[in-house]
């Protein structure tokens, strides 16, 4: 089949329905049909839709987050209590809060899977290096969102996470000033992290997501490594069938609906509780699983391990497109890159699992 699956034009000799006329009127003003540009058919696969699914998770986070800020009180004296009230007193509060938590987890996982897909298919290669870097930055912001969200609960786990944040800020010296309590010592650092969680982090993610999308449009959907490409090797072959981009959006919406349902089930069956109000000077909790790998490193080399670990993790992601410059995209023809990727993933998994074998170590000043 070589036919291009592009929407057929509406026949002009047939009377149009009111709905069609209304849609045409809207389109005339908003230019929605501009989204019907053709994309290669492989773009509609699940693997190529992971970025879109991540965006759906972000949308769920924003909607549930807007609801939660109506009831959350970001001062140290009241924060933990207000989270408890959301869970116990606000109608469907437990569900909305859990949905927010699980959507955050989903965003982290789908973003990771999306990045892994991009690595396995060589989609970070020329001319898409800058977009890869934007993706890495977005992943860093997702991690920051998870971290600040953990602190906002203002329970023992969140407070200990904050303690690590402050210590890292102190380690960084002037560069880490914003992360330290000294930056604005008459303002609770919780309030500043709240601002970061609800404005700075999502705002930056949205800005970068728009840029990410625009660059995908500019560079076009990356070719599938198992299919022929054009002569440059950077685009899908002209012989590959296409579908309108709106079909891609339509399928992402369907995947998104599935994700929303799954998160709803998780939110009902595994809702999030709240830990005890925080106490300074004790270290009795483990961080959320997303940070277990770095917690293991910290147990081995101390607080500096967090800094070194994060620098190495993101440093490797940043240099990837500049080190692996071969135009090959098929994994079988990229043994070095694939070996490196496998080692990277295995080390991360090993460090994550090893957290359970790590002895309890006090890292923070009492």
């Amino acid at each position: 089949m070589t036919a291009q699956h592009v929407a057929d034009p509406v026949p002009t000799d047939r009377p149009q329905s009111r709905t069609r006329r209304a849609l045409d009127a809207i389109d005339e003003r908003l230019g929605i049909k501009a989204l019907e540009y053709p994309v290669p058919e492989h773009a509609n696969n699940l693997a190529w839709s992971l970025g879109g699914i991540t965006a759906v998770a972000l949308a769920i986070l924003i909607v549930t987050g807007v609801i939660l800020v109506q009831f959350y009180s970001p001062t140290p004296e009241t924060a933990n209590e207000s989270v408890r009230r959301i869970v116990t007193d606000v109608w469907a509060g437990r569900f909305v809060r859990s949905l927010h938590f699980w959507a955050g987890q989903a965003m982290y996982v789908t973003a990771l899977l999306h990045m892994l897909r991009v690595v396995l298919t060589g989609s970070y290669k020329r001319p898409r290096e800058a977009n890869w870097l934007i993706g890495v930055a977005m992943f860093g912001l997702v991690t920051l969102g998870l971290f600040t969200g953990t602190v906002l609960k203002w329970d023992q786990e969140g407070f200990e996470a904050l303690g690590h944040n402050i210590e890292i800020g102190n380690l960084l010296g002037g560069v880490g000033l914003w992360f330290s309590a000294d930056f604005a010592d008459r303002v609770p650092i919780l309030v500043r992290l709240y601002g970061a969680h609800v404005v700075v982090v999502p705002g930056l993610i949205l800005m970068l997501a728009i840029l990410h999308g625009l660059l995908v449009k500019k560079h076009r959907i990356s070719p599938h490594p198992a299919l022929p490409t054009d002569s440059s090797g950077e685009q899908a072959s002209a012989a590959e069938p296409t579908e309108p981009f709106t079909h891609h959006l339509r399928r992402i919406a369907a995947f998104g609906l599935t994700l929303l349902g799954l998160l709803g089930i998780l939110s009902v069956l595994l809702p999030q509780g709240v830990g005890p109000t925080p106490v300074a000077g004790i270290e009795v909790t483990k961080p959320p699983w997303n940070f277990w790998w770095i917690f293991t490193v910290e147990n081995w080399v101390g607080l500096k391990g967090i800094l070194y670990g994060e620098v190495i993790f993101f440093g490797l992601l940043v240099i990837l497109p500049f080190v692996d410059r071969s135009p090959e995209r098929l994994w079988r023809r990229r043994p070095i890159a694939m070996g490196f990727t496998a080692a990277f993933v295995l080390v991360m998994i090993a460090l994550t699992v090893l957290v359970n074998a790590a002895p309890a170590v006090q890292h923070l000043e009492g």
């Binding site: 001062t75 140290p76 004296e77 408890r84 869970v87 469907a92 437990r94 569900f95 859990s98 020329r126 023992q156 309590a181 010592d185 303002v187 609770p188 198992a226 299919l227 022929p228 490409t229 002569s231 440059s232 072959s237 012989a239 590959e240 369907a254 609906l257 599935t258 349902g261 709803g264 089930i265 009902v268 069956l269 809702p271 999030q272 509780g273 830990g275 005890p276 109000t277 925080p278 300074a280 004790i282 009795v284 909790t285 490193v297 081995w300 080399v301 101390g302 391990g305 190495i312 410059r325 071969s326 135009p327 090959e328 023809r333 070095i336 070996g339 490196f340 080692a343 923070l364 009492g366």
Partner: protein, 199 residues
């Protein structure tokens, strides 16, 4: 196709960088445990009592009680007992030693009532904690509303899966591959590719 020397050299360099990166990444695995500096413990009486309460909130086993006892011991021994009711603190210690955790918690909390009531609004990294609350569990059984949400979520999953299937691409990758043929090897001679193959 002849393989150029620059290509081979570049591949070696790439390999070297990747191997170095891996070694740097896994180097913590081979270092001896180097724990953080010994933490400096507080001598503020009410904070020590809060730490005892924190241990009890986190762990009500013998280990948690033992840690709490240590903190109460420290609180009784410290010079800074401002706002702390020593009598209640001693009663709390007795209750802890008898394994009466709920009673001990109430006494500990009561012993610092004066101290926490004098606290200024929290700034910087202060906790602002006056009462150490026990953890709130996530769920204690499904209510009618939970069942409605559960069924609705399940319906969303089914609808999403059905729509994903309905909107699936006309051809899967294998069909496309059979029709279009296998991928070519990387076009090293193409104008845009020659510049990117630095090796």
């Amino acid at each position: 196709m002849p393989v150029s020397h620059t290509f081979v050299r570049g591949r070696r360099r790439t390999l070297a960088i990747l191997v170095s990166s891996i070694l740097v990444m896994i180097s913590p695995l081979f270092t001896s445990p180097a724990f953080a500096d010994e933490p400096g413990e507080t001598t503020v009486g009410y904070v020590l009592v809060q730490q005892a309460l924190g241990h009890l909130a986190h762990d009500t086993t013998d280990e948690g009680i033992m840690l709490a006892v240590e903190k109460v011991d420290d609180a009784l021994a410290t010079d800074d007992k401002e706002g702390v009711d020593v009598n209640q603190l001693e009663q709390a210690m007795t209750a802890l030693e008898a394994g009466q955790v709920p009673q001990a918690r109430a006494l500990l909390q009561g012993s610092i009532e004066q101290a926490v009531s004098d606290l200024e609004p929290a700034v910087g990294e202060e906790t602002g904690t006056t009462v150490v609350l026990m953890p709130l569990p996530g769920r204690e059984g499904l209510t009618g509303g939970d069942w409605i949400l559960l069924v609705t979520s399940l319906l969303l999953v089914l609808a999403g899966v059905a729509l994903s299937w309905h909107f699936r691409p006309h051809d899967n990758i294998r069909e496309l591959s059979e029709r279009l043929g296998p991928p070519e090897t990387a076009p090293t001679g193409a104008p845009s590719a020659t510049t990117e193959v630095s090796p």
